[in-house]
Symmetry: C2
Subunit: 144 residues, 2 copies
DNA sequence: ATCGTCTTGAGATAGCTTATCAATATCAAT
DNA sequence: ATTGATATTGATAAGCTATCTCAAGACGAT
């Protein structure tokens, strides 16, 4: 029961303690479910957890995911019409190359770009938690 | 009246022709206004154009900006709770550094990153039309 | 166990975007 | 230039996601 999520669990408890908030059954349940994902929407988590606890409210999911953002465990990102809550502790980050012709998506990683991003951030006094890089263009076939 | 936006105007007309769509007074007016901006929201453009044409509907703005996206002239980007429509032809492209603590947004440009992006694209047979780079983290004040 | 405070669940509400539809504008063919 | 077929517009309703409200219940320090 110590669990592989002990680090995040204590990060949450520390945040709760600092802000006079309480550790509840729902917060524990939602955190455990959240840490199993790389990113998820509130709606998706609502349906996922409905199997375990049918009375868990959607508003509670939103409130709790936003709480995780405050605690630095999650990070909200607007994608399409919904908000994606990213698991900050998840490492394997990849970026996307998207063809505007056929919709093909190629994933890539580039350490040099990431290093330059760190430099830009540092120059502006920022500490990067995560990022999003999408390149839009035409793939070889769609270019004709 | 030839105008500095001739290139985009013909790109729009080409798209319209290919899809059995019509060239209207509203589309021309919205395109001209749009090309003067680097990026704008539908709501902001609605208020801006209300001075010229008080009867122009908000739905038309949304429809037209989405049309520009289809034509490759604009690009939608979800930012906060609203959608930003970016002017693709605008050169001085800037990226964003976003504080997850206070919401502060810092714009930046970095040629080296852009060059590396080109390399990644070329390696995969892509020709970049535009891109989106957002760095999320804590600004100096929010880091404490 | 008690009490003050925080949290929850359910539904109402708010904000942004899209759908509906009758009236109108556009454009190719007369 | 007129016609006719089709696309577009404007106004408003509807849809969706996320947040707010508040009475009832849970938490945790004492």
């Amino acid at each position: 029961m110590s669990g592989k999520f002990a680090k995040e669990m204590s990060a949450l408890k520390e945040h709760l303690g600092k802000h006079q908030l309480k550790f509840t059954r729902q917060r524990e349940m939602i955190l455990t479910a959240f840490l199993r994902q790389e990113h998820i929407t509130a709606e998706a988590m609502y349906h996922q957890l409905a199997k375990t606890d049918p009375h868990l409210g959607l508003a509670t999911i939103y409130r709790t995911l936003n709480l995780f953002c405050d605690a630095g465990i999650a990070q909200a990102r607007h994608f399409g019409s919904q908000t994606q809550y990213d698991n900050v502790s998840h490492k394997g980050h990849h970026d996307h190359l998207i063809c505007t012709g056929c919709g093909k998506i190629v994933e890539f990683e580039n350490c040099e770009i990431e290093k330059l991003q760190e430099e830009v951030a540092a120059r502006n006094g920022f500490t990067i938690q995560t990022h999003r890089l999408e390149l839009y263009g035409l793939c070889s076939r769609c270019r004709h």
